[in-house]
């Protein structure tokens, strides 16, 4: 095996093991940043030794042991330091000494019994609200995804130094705020879980927005988000919204191959070749949605969006789409999280279910919503409905307005073409 192959193998082992190792260490040293650095040191040791001495028989155990030894050294030094400074009472010294001696066993035990708990603590710490959303994303990909700074930077099209700084600052913020290495319980859990789901969905959308020809790391973010979502679903099997998010991502990912045509132009959902949808991912998405529904209670925003995506996934052809159900799901979503954009989507669904006049009535009610001022989809949808009603002159005006508002050149071309065809009646 040459050096490149060895490096690739080390990266693969790291991807599989790093979160477990960091989680087990963080529980003992009570500092996620420090735990990550200790684990990184172990990785560096592997990168140095393995190409020379060959890959150990059990690479995962090797990495764990190496990280463990570094942590024990550190605890010893800390104890010694405390001793010299004479600042810490003898009692605490003794506790440190015991901690160091216990450490090896404790990490082993943690790896055996508490992997799940540690991973959950790691997820909630990386997505802690004390951090900015960008910092949460970078730290999650780093700690849970095992991605390198360079990989994260390439995914988000920013310089590597930006991500490196972001991660350093995030670790410092966590330490300064004395964020405990714990998973939230009770009333706090809901809000904290929302933050975790938001981070995962943000990663997914970043990958989903990537276009062909960009660095492969960007589309790979979709797979990474899916992996994180699936891990979380196993860690929190009773949380319906986790399954809802997984369902939403699986179904959206199932359409990846159909979203662009051979020229790299985007293809709208209803025009997509459904044969290119990934049946395996659709099946997994529908199963995840069923789990969310079986857990009972009203569906949350992710599960509702997944249920809408499922309506499309279940339709063999666009014409078979269950639009009345989609309209009802948008209504439920609007009640949960009122938003004029959701209302606009609901209006489209209503127009598909009950005709353009019904849709237009709802769109007209939205024209004064401040959030939709300057939003090109409002005149675009209105133009579409007017055209379907045969009001071509008005439709033409709306398409022209939409073309002025969009910042996307391809879309502008499309809207101007629609304006011309509306003018021709």
């Amino acid at each position: 095996m040459d050096a490149t192959e060895t490096h690739r193998t080390i990266n693969a082992v790291w991807r599989i093991e790093s979160a477990r190792i960091i989680g087990a260490l963080a529980r003992r040293v009570r500092d996620v940043g420090l735990a990550e650095e200790l684990a990184q040191d172990a990785l560096l040791a592997a990168l140095e030794q393995w190409p020379r001495e060959g890959i150990p028989e059990n690479p995962a155990a090797w990495l764990t042991a190496a990280a463990k030894h570094r942590a024990i050294d550190l605890l010893r030094k800390r104890t010694l330091h405390a001793h010299k400074e004479g600042e810490i009472a003898r009692e605490i010294d003794a506790r440190h000494a015991i901690a160091a001696a216990d450490f090896a066993d404790a990490v082993d035990a943690a790896l055996d019994d508490q992997v799940g708990d540690d991973l959950l603590r790691l997820v909630f710490t990386a997505c802690h609200p004390v951090l900015s959303p960008e910092a949460r994303v970078a730290l999650t990909l780093r700690l849970l995804g095992g991605l390198t700074t360079d990989e994260i930077a390439r995914s988000f099209l920013v310089p590597e130094s930006t991500i490196a700084q972001r991660i350093v600052r995030a670790k410092r913020t966590l330490a300064a705020a004395r964020v405990p290495f714990e998973a939230p319980r009770g009333p706090e859990l809901g809000a904290r879980l929302s933050s975790v789901l938001e981070v995962i969905y943000l990663v997914f959308n970043e990958g989903y927005a990537a276009t062909a020809g960009e660095d492969w790391m960007r589309p790979a973010l979709c797979d990474e988000a899916l992996r994180l979502g699936r891990i979380l679903a196993e860690l929190m099997p009773d949380a319906p919204e986790v399954h809802g998010l997984v369902a939403l991502m699986e179904i959206q990912a199932s359409r990846a191959a159909a979203r662009v045509d051979a020229d790299g132009e985007p293809v709208l959902l209803l025009a997509q070749n459904r044969a290119r949808w990934d049946r395996l991912l659709i099946g997994r998405g529908l199963a995840a949605l069923a789990r969310a529904e079986q857990l009972g209670g009203a569906l949350g925003p992710y599960a509702l969006q997944a249920a809408i995506a499922a309506c499309h996934a279940r339709a063999q052809e666009a014409a078979q789409t269950d639009w009345p159900r989609i309209a009802a799901l948008y209504e439920a979503l609007a009640q949960l999280a009122p938003s004029p954009i959701v209302e606009l989507n609901r209006a489209v669904a209503l127009s598909m279910a009950f005709g353009p006049a019904v849709g237009l009535e709802h769109v007209d009610a939205l024209r004064s919503a401040p959030q939709l001022q300057g939003y090109h989809l409002l005149p675009s949808v209105r133009g579409d409905l007017l055209a379907r009603l045969g009001r071509h002159a008005e439709a033409c005006e709306e398409f022209k307005r939409a073309a002025e508002l969009t910042r996307n050149a391809r879309e502008r071309k499309l809207l101007l073409a629609r304006a011309r065809s509306a003018a021709d009646g």
């Binding site: 991807r15 599989i16 992997v115 799940g116 797979d223 891990i231 044969a275």
Partner: protein, 143 residues
């Protein structure tokens, strides 16, 4: 990227021998580890070729059906696991963790990468897509 781990058949799988309790428990632990890691998408075990297996050989466009069992045990498939990972090395790393007691320490596995639609790119001509659409619709209708 997706990979299929193929578990090759052996005399025992072809005889329909039930796995030992230890193997069942190791296999479940292995699958659980892959599910916990968000890696495993699907997996199944296949019955012996004698239990309903058949070979369909086309000659001159005409099919001939030959019922199992088949002699070339080592060339047969006894089961598969579908995984989604970030690299081929990661897939290999998972395969190496297959329960070593399977096949009495001599299990034969094969790793194959799954084609994804993007592999076909522009050459995936519209007519072929249409054909595939048709086939999939029929496959889905059977579910």
């Amino acid at each position: 990227m997706k990979f299929m781990i193929i578990r090759k058949a052996d005399a025992e799988t072809e005889a329909g021998a039930m796995p030992t309790a230890q193997l069942v428990s190791d296999m479940m632990a292995y699958n659980k580890a892959m599910i916990d890691a968000g890696v495993m998408l699907d997996g199944m075990g296949l019955k012996p070729s004698a239990s309903g297996g058949a070979r369909i050989q086309f000659a001159g466009g005409k099919p001939t059906v030959v019922d199992g069992p088949f002699a070339e045990t080592k060339e047969l498939v006894a089961g598969f696991t579908l995984i989604q990972v970030g690299s081929r090395e990661e897939a290999l790393e998972w395969v190496k963790r297959w329960p070593p007691i399977d096949g009495h320490g001599k299990v034969a596995l094969e790793l194959r990468q799954v084609y994804e639609a993007e592999d076909f790119g522009a050459e995936f001509a519209p007519e072929i897509r249409e054909q595939e659409a048709h086939l999939r619709e029929r496959a889905a209708a059977r579910d």
